[in-house]
């Protein structure tokens, strides 16, 4: 049945982290806000309760908190000359479903990004001149400085009770923190998590090489915490079930634990689960959006929800898809390099080296999602790239987040894949190994972009988003360089066995989990010629349409994206408040 509902003031598409943050101010001002979310409320389900929460097969391997690929997946090709095929079961990244979105099943690794990240082009041109930036690398400034974002970072970290050790407070370097950190207005709201045995090993090794290790900024609460809204986090149990799981101890900051309960207390706020948005109605003449179309997944009703203001706050793939479907903005064309929607699609450049210690107990199961130790010397533009032939970098860390034994069981090179020797190696090394990983940037490439697939459709009859992506020369060279640095760290750990260093290489592999850090598709900027939304996240072609989240990143930073996109979401909250009072181009 088709139905048209009464108009609402502000409608968000996607009930994850960014919607909750961007809606805060509006809701506190009494503005009418509706959030449409395709999934359900996870509160008190089997995903959040013992013993079912600890089920590795269900959540960790079959990925039951992530998008159901039978309903909607993406197609993949490595260049625009190839035919894309549907990724029938996607492992490379894991969009969330349900209230809280991917913000539920994250690890909690919470970085602000480097001071220069949002003004990267200016930074690189100032340092190296324009010539080392290849023509096919559309690096651009996002147009908002770190200094402007700092208060929003500060607010977000207090809301999330982020733990860590400051490395730079108002320009003054702090012992034990990250010397490359963007200047903070104060210390982290909570002290660092307990260090792991692997972290002790990495600290010693990196110090011996002259680097400065520091604890990862974490949204896993080291002790009970009450945020400025009066919302509570429990103490982290170091249970090793963060990423792909919902925390059963309410110790991992997430939208469902900290943000939505506050919003839901207000009568002017509504979140509507089981609402699958299928389109945004766009009045091309008026250059305005007028309504959101969605399907009620519990009744099958097709519903038109008129709105004065629309905010796309879904995963990057969905934000991009809705703009392409609605023909809002010019789709990017790699042949002419014109158009913007789908442009600057990036992922995260990962690599790893396993290290094995005969006489040390790593106990990988004693860990939280962010209880890692890292060095930042080779991230982003923290080091001189003169003559290196690439841009960007990554942080090097002991990637010990869990000891879930189906997936986390490093084996020395040469171990048979089954049989007694395989079992013996599993028994010998399970508690005595970890991996040293590189979490690296991914800069845009003219051939990496999103578009609508001409052939394959989702369960609602709409085209799948087509990914055209590969690891291009810049990322391959970057990964080779930083992975070599990681190997030096691995070799300094005193390990019994150091596994092979495996830098990231193409072809891009949909079967291998990399991270859930998909960025771009609707990049932001000050120039409508290379961006989908303005520096205020306002769509250039529809004044009453805003886009928020990692889809607005113009490149992928070397850090986990959540901290930075949260600051942008809070800043959007201020912009939405202003726009609501006086609708205009911001």
């Amino acid at each position: 049945m088709k139905r048209k509902l009464k108009s609402r003031r502000v409608v968000f598409v996607g009930g994850g982290l960014t919607a909750a943050l961007a809606a805060r101010k509006l809701v506190s001002e009494g503005v009418d806000v509706l959030v449409l979310e395709r999934g359900r409320d996870h509160d008190a389900g089997p995903e959040q309760r013992l013993p079912s929460q600890r089920d590795e097969l269900r959540w960790g391997v079959r990925n039951h908190l992530a998008q159901d690929w039978s309903i909607e997946t993406y197609t993949l090709r490595h260049s625009s000359r190839e035919t894309a095929l549907p990724i029938r079961t996607l492992e490379a990244f894991l969009p969330g479903v349900g209230i809280g979105g991917a913000g539920n099943h994250w690890n909690g690794q919470t970085f602000r990004g480097a001071e220069y990240d949002t003004m990267l082009r200016k930074r690189l041109v100032d340092r190296y001149g324009a010539s080392p930036i290849p023509a096919e690398m559309p690096i651009q400034d996002w147009g908002v400085s770190y200094q402007e974002l700092e208060p929003y970072h500060d607010t977000f970290e207090k809301l999330y009770g982020v733990s860590g050790k400051a490395g730079n407070i108002r320009g003054k370097l702090q012992e034990g923190g990250n010397p490359f950190e963007a200047p903070r207005s104060g210390e982290y709201p909570q002290p660092p998590l307990e260090i792991t045995e692997a972290g002790l090993i990495l600290s010693e090794a990196t110090r011996s090489l002259g680097y400065k290790p520091f604890p990862m900024p974490a949204s896993n609460s080291p002790k009970p915490y009450v945020n400025p809204d009066g919302m509570r986090l429990g103490a982290c149990q170091y249970c090793g079930h963060c990423e792909r799981y919902i925390c059963e101890s309410n110790a991992k900051a997430s939208p469902e634990v900290l943000l939505y309960p506050v919003l839901r207390k207000s009568a002017n706020f509504e979140i509507r689960p089981f609402s699958q948005v299928t389109g945004i109605a766009y009045d091309r003449k008026a250059r305005r959006v007028t309504a959101v179309h969605y399907q009620d997944l519990q009744t099958g009703d097709e519903i038109e929800q008129p709105a004065d203001i629309v905010v796309l706050s879904a995963f990057p793939m969905t934000n991009t898809k809705l703009l392409l479907l609605g023909k809002i903005g010019e789709p990017y064309d790699p042949a002419t390099r014109r158009g913007v929607v789908g442009k600057n699609f990036c992922h995260q450049t990962m690599s790893a080296i396993n290290v094995f210690f005969k006489d040390r107990w790593i106990n990988p199961f004693l860990a939280a999602g962010s209880s890692q130790t890292l060095i930042d010397e080779f991230n982003g533009d923290n080091f001189d790239h003169t003559g290196l032939g690439f841009m960007g970098g990554g942080y090097i860390f002991n990637n010990t987040t869990n000891g879930r034994p189906i997936s986390t069981r490093p084996l020395p090179p040469g171990t048979p894949a089954w049989g007694t020797k395989w079992k013996q190696a599993s028994a010998d090394w399970y508690a005595h190994a970890f991996n040293i990983s590189v979490h690296g940037s991914c800069y845009p490439h003219a051939e990496n972009y999103l578009s609508l697939d001409p052939t394959y459709r989702d369960a609602y009859g709409q085209p799948l988003v087509r990914i055209t992506f590969d690891w291009r020369d810049n990322e391959v060279k970057m990964s080779e360089y930083v992975t070599r640095k990681a190997l030096e760290v691995a070799n300094a750990c005193g390990a019994t066995i150091v596994g092979p260093a495996v830098p990231r290489k193409g072809p891009y592999d949909a079967r291998v989990y990399q991270t859930t850090h998909i960025t771009g598709g609707t990049p932001m900027g000050a120039d409508p010629g290379n961006s989908v939304v303005s520096t205020h996240l306002q769509h250039w072609d529809a004044e009453n349409l805003f886009v928020v989240g990692a889809s607005t990143y113009a490149h992928q930073i070397g850090y986990n994206p959540t901290g930075l996109l949260s600051a942008f979401a809070l800043r959007l909250g201020d912009d939405l408040s202003a726009y609501n009072r006086r609708p205009t181009r911001l």
């Binding site: 097969l57 549907p86 090793g240 004693l366 034994p405 599993s426």
Partner: protein, 265 residues
């Protein structure tokens, strides 16, 4: 018991029946032992009396290398011939040794049976719309078969290839031959079947094997947490707030007695 595969009656069903009788006899003979304890004791008994990798007459024979095979809960997806193949395969990939009982007795075949019978086997979360065409490996699985159908087709193809190569059915091969055959399948050296046995093995068999070993025993594999105990994964409830400091860099006592979902149900 009526067989659905009447055409195979002479070649395949006969060994299955033989198997059944051998197992039943073995069980009856060893009943007194099995009353005294669970599978852990059984495993210890097996390791005390049977050195690792003791050659047996055929990999399909479970009675010769396990002191007290636990009674099978029964299969819901596999037919008898498939059971024979899968049990033999799991016993090659997980032979009885000082670490664990054989794969069948660890519940590995039951785990796979249950997975294929359920949502996973039906491709519950698999994008299943055409058109279908072969892709690059990095684009992932591109066949119209659901995992359960693919698994069954792979068994049939691998059985036929084993017979072609060795002149007898897979479960009648010596452990060394059976292992070499699986190694060759994994390496893409067994060709000639309509479907790629290498893909079948790497995309379905091997992941299911690892999951069968290390998933919570509630799914039927990892019986009695034998693999968790083997590696020292303590399982549930994983409240390690104080352990994190107390046992940093030290052996964790809970690793010797893992707990699973059943212990909290």
């Amino acid at each position: 018991m009526p067989s659905l595969n009447t055409s195979d009656e002479s070649s395949e069903a006969a060994p299955s029946r033989r198997e059944f009788i051998v197992k039943a006899a073995g069980l009856a003979a060893l009943l007194p032992l099995s009353t005294k304890g669970g599978i852990a004791e059984a495993a210890d008994a097996a390791s005390a009396t049977t050195p690792a990798n003791t050659p047996s007459t055929a990999v399909g024979s479970t009675a010769s290398n396990a002191a007290t095979p636990p009674p099978s809960p029964g299969y819901t997806f596999f037919g008898p011939d498939e059971v024979t193949f899968v049990e033999a395969m799991m016993n090659v990939m997980c032979p009885a040794d000082s670490l664990t009982p054989n794969g069948t007795d660890c519940g590995l075949s039951i785990f796979i049976d249950r997975q294929l019978a359920g949502d996973f086997g039906k491709g519950g979360r698999l994008y299943s719309q055409g058109p279908w065409q072969p892709g690059k490996p990095q684009q992932g699985y591109q066949l119209p078969m659901k995992p359960a159908e693919f698994f069954a087709a792979g068994i049939a193809a691998a059985s036929a290839m084993a017979k072609e190569r060795y002149g007898k059915s897979f479960d009648r091969l010596s452990p060394a031959d059976a292992d070499a055959f699986l190694q060759d399948i994994a390496a893409g050296k067994v060709t000639g079947a309509r479907l790629s046995l290498a893909d079948w093995f790497s995309q379905l068999v091997y992941p299911l094997f690892q999951q069968a070993c290390f998933a919570d025993p509630v799914y039927g594999g990892n019986r009695n947490k034998v693999f968790w105990r083997m590696v020292g994964y303590p399982g549930l409830p994983a409240f390690h707030g104080t352990d994190m400091v107390e046992f940093r860099g030290k052996p964790y006592p809970g690793a010797k007695q893992p707990q699973s979902i059943q212990d909290f149900s």
